[in-house]
Amino acid sequence: MTAVLELRGVDAWYGNTAVLRGVTLDVQDGGMVALLGANGAGKTTTLRAICNMGVRTRGEIRLAGQRIEGQPTERIARLGVGHVPEGRGTFLGLTVDENLRLGGYLRRDRKVASDTSKMFGYFPVLRDRLFQQAGTLSGGEQQMLAIARALMSRPKLLLLDEPSFGLAPILVQEIFRILRVINQEERMAMLVVEQNARLALDLVGQVFLLETGRVVASGPPQQIAADESVRRAYLGQ
């Protein structure tokens, strides 16, 4: 097993405000990892640090062994990181079709069309909405579009920032089920930031728990879920 993503002692700042302090974590090839923690713990910042999005970092970030810290965001995308950002990052004024084509922007191979139909297999509603402006889609549909857009680039690693945000519980279940299928069928590694700890614990193989910018616990979900303080703080038990 090799790691597709490694963070070693990563600090991060917005301006002069330190948000991450010495974060160390791994995502194994084909692994599915959750990043849990309270609001403001630094979950989103961790994803932004990986993609070098408007945050200053120090420390080591490796993608498939290669150092990527400090590279421009678009270069990191080219190296194989797909990112469903906080707030979904939909191109609201463009059509669903154009959003998907942008997802495959970097690809020169011939399989883009067959991948598009694969997306319709995962998210049939996108086919019905294909030529609508993405801004007219419901929140759940936009979330599906955001995931499909990121998948279209065939990333080595998919970063998901709160895929459950603002969605009806039944839809959240469905999206997580699909993520699981993609993770298993495509062996695509995923790092998921989630508020809904219970849901994430069911989904992933490995959990990192962040508190005020530090990793305070990590391990398989059963172990994390068994931890007394985690149960009290995040599972409401």
């Binding site: 993609c51 999005m53 408007g54 421009p72 965001t73 678009e74 995308a77 080219r78 797909g82 990112h83 950002p85 990052g89 939909t90 191109f91 609201l92 004024g93 463009l94 154009e98 084509r101 942008l102 997802g103 922007y105 970097l106 857009r149 990121a150 680039s153």
Partner: protein
């Protein structure tokens, strides 16, 4: 009736120039939310390049093409060397840099080419076509060239991968980077294309307004009016606004305010749009909390 038709048609011909300028302004506005006050001066400078090439003995359309390439490269250069340094700075900084650019290009043209007024050739025949007297061949040519150029630009944005990437970069730079688009280069390409549109407008306008460093002063005002009327964030609205302003200018000049006050029509349109419908006829209203 004949006179009215004549005014309408030649208004459309002027409108073609305003349409190109307006689209150039809108393209840069969409990408940066800044209005390029130097657009007209850049167009004027491009026209001088065309003039120099034609004087050197090149056929008109060869000079035309080289001028477009020159303008494209210059536009990219200005974005890469100058505008990217003020990215993320305040709007006021951008305005000052644009005005500085305007003055600098104007001064450069005066010193390189002198400010004496020069005639600029039209590539179209001077004899009236098909016996029509409503429009001169140059006016017909202006409309045709503009429509062809606008058609190419819209097809580029609508049907090519690069055009889609440019639209994406203008709409959502952060997400564009996440899918691997080099947003900085898209802005530079936008500047290049806007300069090309400006150059077309300049070369089409020069046979009418004559070539001199201040030739675009009036045109750019009509271009602003056209861009605002069409909706400053709507690329489809810009050409429509351009043709409307051209017709309005001509009709008002002929029947209402007289030809001496025609330029006031542009200012009137600008003020009227900003007061009564700031989003323009085809624009979207965007509410921003500040």
């Amino acid at each position: 009736m004949q006179a009215l038709l004549h005014q309408l048609l030649s208004g459309l011909a002027n409108g073609a120039i305003y349409a190109s300028v307006a689209l150039a302004l809108v393209m840069i506005f969409k990408a940066t939310h800044e209005v390029n006050f130097a657009q007209g001066e850049l167009a004027m400078f491009s026209t001088y390049i065309a003039y120099t090439l034609i004087e050197a003995g090149l056929p008109y359309w060869v000079a035309f093409l080289i001028t477009l390439i020159f303008s494209f490269v210059t536009g990219i250069g200005i974005e890469r060397l100058l505008m990217r340094r003020i990215q993320g700075k305040s709007q006021l900084t951008a305005v000052i840099v644009f005005i500085g650019l305007l003055v600098a290009v104007n001064g450069l043209a005066s010193s390189l080419f002198t400010s004496s007024i020069k005639p600029f050739p039209s590539p179209f025949p001077s004899q009236a076509w098909y016996g029509t007297t409503y429009l001169s061949p140059h006016e017909v040519g202006m409309i045709v060239v503009t429509l062809v150029v606008l058609g190419i630009v819209f097809a580029f944005f609508r049907f090519t991968r690069l055009g889609l990437a440019m639209r994406a970069a203008a709409e959502n730079p952060a997400s564009s980077r996440l899918v691997g688009i080099r947003v900085g280069w898209m802005l530079a390409l936008g500047w290049g294309l806007a300069s090309v549109l400006g150059a077309v407008a300049g070369m089409m306008a020069a046979p009418i307004v004559f070539l001199e460093p201040n030739m675009m002063g009036g045109v750019i005002l009509y271009g602003f009016a056209a861009a605002l009327l069409g909706g400053i964030d709507n690329p489809w609205g810009a050409p429509i606004g351009g043709f409307m302003v051209g017709v309005l200018e001509n009709l008002a000049g002929a029947y209402v305010v007289g030809s001496h006050l025609k330029l006031a029509v542009a200012l009137f349109v600008i003020v009227a749009v900003l007061v009564f419908k700031p989003s323009g006829l085809f624009g979207r209203t965007v509410v921003v909390r500040v």
